[in-house]
């Protein structure tokens, strides 16, 4: 790789990560990662969701212990067994979720983290040093304000001040702009530049290409737990970075037969909805989904996919526009009504949204249908029918479970996904929303899920396939729709599309000729 920055001298690095491997029960989160950070640089850690960025950062911060590999800090090999160890070394981290006491003031929250404060708090001293810090870095914040009265952006400043107060040499920011407005982000970037000019090193985790280009000196790209490369930002274009991030390798091929698509089943017209924080998440989404069709929904996480699916399922209110199934308006129907209209849902967060893991496998296989025949007989549940149905599902979907009565929480992720497929397919939906249906699964199960989806397509189902894995979309979909910041950027027939083009649109770059 001509553009790689080769290490000239080991001692110039503040932090060095060598062959770091971290495994979790289901996944290899980091596979022999090498990375180094120089003093005074902003180093972006770029990758899609699940690429292993956060895991790597948490290993450096001592929250996780790597299974293999070595971390060197300021020229010495270190074993960082806990976050407090990391802080002592001079490594600070600002998480996506803040750890602040809402009823305490800014000064009190900073003082709270100090180990050397002794029995008596010297708040004046803390405040004085904080004022100096704010002046140094040009941060404007009311130090006496209570956390609960501050905006999310301001709270992030408090987290950063906390880290600075501890005298960090390396600051890790985990997707800091996710909660910020564009103006707040600009302000953050200015301050970060000021920090690095004073010798601080910053690891900036993101999946937004625009930010990488704007703020970083170098960028390390991860994909599916593996290091792609570390490059100097100035040598790269957005398109090149997008390609590195999304990747090109195809895991395996599937036989997708050509099928003439049928009638439109699901129609979405000018759909608007807000996210959980009340900001606009969908800005006028329109599309149609046909029988015998898989429509891919490509996009970087957090661009409205979650809100779109939730609105379609009926758990999120549409603020404008309409949704139709078979020509019938379902915009403001309850999840149950939508389900009865023939909409199935494979959620991306299967544990949280798709299962009751404390329930048995048999009970999970009828979740949502507990009031319907054949599972209800008169006033009561019909255990024989429930077990009969469950046994059928377990057999035909090859769900590995000790017994039908075993709690779902003891099943592996792949088997849980099969359980959801069995349940949702069993309801014979006309429309199927599959959100990240293969995330975190083993290759064998992925292939199985793909075949099942293609079979449903053959049977006449209309399938919306949201995936961050572009290979999955290329392999399965008939058309692909790209979403960015709550808007549909474009829709293509899959034969006509180049993966680079999708990558650019995902990043919000409309002029695909560059």
């Amino acid at each position: 790789m001509s553009k790689s920055s080769q290490p000239q001298n080991i001692e110039e690095f503040l932090l060095e990560v060598r062959n770091l491997t971290k495994r979790f029960p289901m996944v290899l989160a980091n596979d022999r990662i090498n990375m180094n950070i120089k003093e005074g640089e902003v180093h972006c850690l770029l990758g899609e969701n699940g690429a292993g960025k956060s895991t790597l950062a948490e290993c450096i911060f001592g929250y996780y212990q790597p299974d293999e590999g070595e971390i060197r800090f300021a020229g010495e090999t270190v074993e960082i067994s806990s976050p407090s160890e990391a802080i002592k070394l001079g490594i600070g981290m600002v998480h996506q979720h803040f750890v602040l006491v809402p009823t305490f003031s800014v000064v009190e929250n900073v003082a709270l983290g100090l180990e050397s404060s002794g029995v008596l708090l010297n708040l004046e001293k803390v405040e004085k040093r904080l004022i100096d810090l704010c002046i140094d870095y040009d941060v404007e914040i009311d130090l006496k304000a209570r956390i609960s009265d501050l905006s999310v952006g301001e709270q992030q400043w408090v987290e950063i001040l906390k880290a600075l107060f501890g005298g960090v040499k390396l600051l890790i920011l985990d997707e800091p702009t996710a909660v910020l407005t564009p103006q707040e982000s600009e302000k953050l970037f200015t301050v970060l530049k000021k920090m690095t000019s004073q010798g601080l090193a910053i690891i900036f985790i993101t999946h937004k290409l625009k930010e990488v280009m704007e703020i970083s000196d170098r960028v390390t790209v991860l994909r599916k737990g593996q290091l792609v490369d570390t490059v100097d930002t100035k040598d790269m274009t957005k398109a090149e970075l997008a390609k590195m991030m999304v990747g090109r390798e195809v895991v395996f091929h599937v036989d997708k037969e050509q099928i003439q698509k049928g009638e439109p089943i699901l129609e979405v017209r000018d759909l608007w909805a807000n996210n959980d924080r009340g900001q606009i998440a969908l800005e006028g989404i329109s599309f149609a989904l046909y029988e015998n069709e898989i429509l891919g929904l490509a996009g970087v996480a957090g661009n409205g996919q979650k809100e779109l699916i939730e609105t379609l399922v009926g758990v999120r209110k549409a603020t404008r526009g309409e949704i139709l199934i078979d020509g019938e308006v379902i915009t403001h129907s309850t999840p149950r009504d939508v389900m009865e209209k023939g909409l199935g849902h494979i959620p991306d967060d299967r544990i949280r949204e798709g299962l009751v893991t404390e329930f048995s496998v048999a009970k999970n296989l009828m979740l949502g249908q507990q009031r319907d025949r054949p599972f209800r007989k008169g006033l009561f549940l019909d255990k024989d029918q429930i077990d009969l149905h469950a046994q059928g599902c377990v057999d035909s979907y090859e769900i590995m479970t000790p017994t039908l009565e075993s709690k779902a929480k003891f099943l592996s992720g792949g088997n849980l996904q099969k359980l959801i497929l069995a349940r949702e397919f069993g309801m014979q939906p006309k429309v199927l929303l599959a959100n990240q249906p293969t995330r975190g699964l083993d290759v064998g199960v992925i292939e199985y899920v793909w075949q099942q989806l293609l079979e449903k397509r053959r049977d006449g189902d209309a399938i919306l396939l949201a995936s961050e894995d572009l290979d999955e979309i290329i392999n399965l979909a008939d058309r692909v729709m790209v979403i960015c910041q709550g808007r549909i950027m474009d829709v293509f027939d899959i034969q006509d599309v180049k993966i680079e083009q999708i990558g650019l649109l995902m990043a919000g770059i409309e002029d695909a000729s560059c």
Binding site: M339, G354, F380, L381
Partner: protein
């Protein structure tokens, strides 16, 4: 988590068995017994004498057994009230207030329709006490669904409101003009629950309680609504995605939970106390929580755990007389049992392994 020096590690259980669920509870009871014995010993009494007195006071003769059953009856009902709510992870701590409301409701119905024949009166008492308790439960549920008021807070606050309402009623509209005490006149004989045995105070309340236990068992474990209650308790997000209406379920649960606690009040009024008074309940609503926890929130076990706590309450009298141990010790034992049972819950989920 690693326990240093001992090389022991606490890990999540990979499978659950009947034994891994029941054994910790039995051990908790044993531990509570040992600690209680220690308390008795510290207070200077003979441990053996005290516990024999406790046993005899609860089960020594027919009179004491019937008294124990009379105490178990309201505990079964308040225990069921706690169990159904807790299964949905709705923390109804208001069974005490709902019980008192049930008693007030039943008293109102009895004094409003005094001329009813016995069977009709029996039904009216059950209905009115259920509805009066259910109303209070429903109010807390409404505050939660409409204004997101924490259920723990609102139910606890209703306990105070109903307690003071009762104390106001027995001092004003319902005050017995012929008595020095602040209590209401006795309810007419037609409204009093039939006695099950001659010469003893054992009344029909225990039968009502056991029937209700059976109904609640079927509701929670065997019906679609019970399935939904448990689903919401375990995973409200997935339940929402799969079309289970959280607000409706919450209102339903609070209605039934409050109603069942209200039945306990109606039963006490018509079966035993026969009038409203300030010290109407010795905290049955709160003891019901412990009873339910000890039964693992399973309605089928609640009559058994209620019997245990009923026995503690009746037996404590004899223990006081024979061994000179204050009745307060019984409340200490109750609390100790609760603490150990909560601790035991940890061991149904985790196990300790040697590294």
């Amino acid at each position: 988590m690693l326990i240093p020096f001992l090389n022991l590690r606490i890990v999540r259980r990979q499978h659950e068995t009947k034994l891994s669920q029941i054994l910790p509870v039995l051990l908790a009871l044993l531990a509570a017994f040992i600690v209680s014995a220690f308390l008795v010993w510290v207070s200077g009494s003979d441990v053996k004498v005290a516990f024999i007195a406790l046993w005899e006071g609860a089960f020594g003769n027919t009179r004491q057994i019937t008294e124990t059953l009379n105490k178990a009856a309201p505990l079964i009902l308040t225990g069921l009230a706690a169990a159904i709510a807790f299964r949905a992870k709705i923390w109804n701590i208001g069974a005490e207030g709902q019980l008192l409301s049930g008693a007030i409701g039943a008293y109102w119905a009895i004094t409003t329709f005094p001329g009813l024949p016995p069977v009709a009166m029996f039904i009216v008492i059950l209905l009115s006490s259920f509805l009066a308790g259910a109303l209070i439960g429903l109010l807390s549920g409404y505050l939660k669904t409409k204004f997101n008021v924490d259920v723990i807070i609102s139910t606890v606050m209703f306990n105070y409101i109903i307690t003071f309402l009762l104390s106001m009623l027995v001092d004003t509209v319902y005050r017995d003009p012929e008595s020095y005490y602040k209590w209401s006149p006795k309810i007419p004989e037609v409204a009093q629950f039939p006695l099950l045995l001659t010469k003893y105070r054992l009344h029909a309340g225990i039968i009502v309680a056991i029937v209700v236990a059976l109904v609640i068992y079927l509701l929670i474990e065997k019906s679609p609504v019970g399935y939904e209650i448990q689903a919401i308790g375990h995973n409200p997000t997935a339940s929402n995605f799969k079309g289970i209406n959280k607000s409706k379920t919450l209102l339903f649960v609070m209605f039934i939970s409050g109603g069942v606690a209200g039945l306990a009040g109606g039963g006490e009024l018509a079966g035993l106390i026969h009038r409203l008074r300030i010290d109407f309940s010795p905290g049955y609503g709160f003891t019901g929580i412990i009873v339910a926890m000890l039964a693992g929130l399973n309605p089928i076990w609640i009559p058994l755990t209620s019997l245990l706590f009923g026995a503690l309450l009746t037996g404590s009298l004899k223990m006081q007389i024979v061994a000179g141990i204050p009745v307060a010790l019984v409340y200490a034992i109750q609390a100790i049992v609760l603490l150990f049972v909560i601790t035991a819950e940890f061991f149904t989920l985790y196990e300790i392994r040697r590294d």
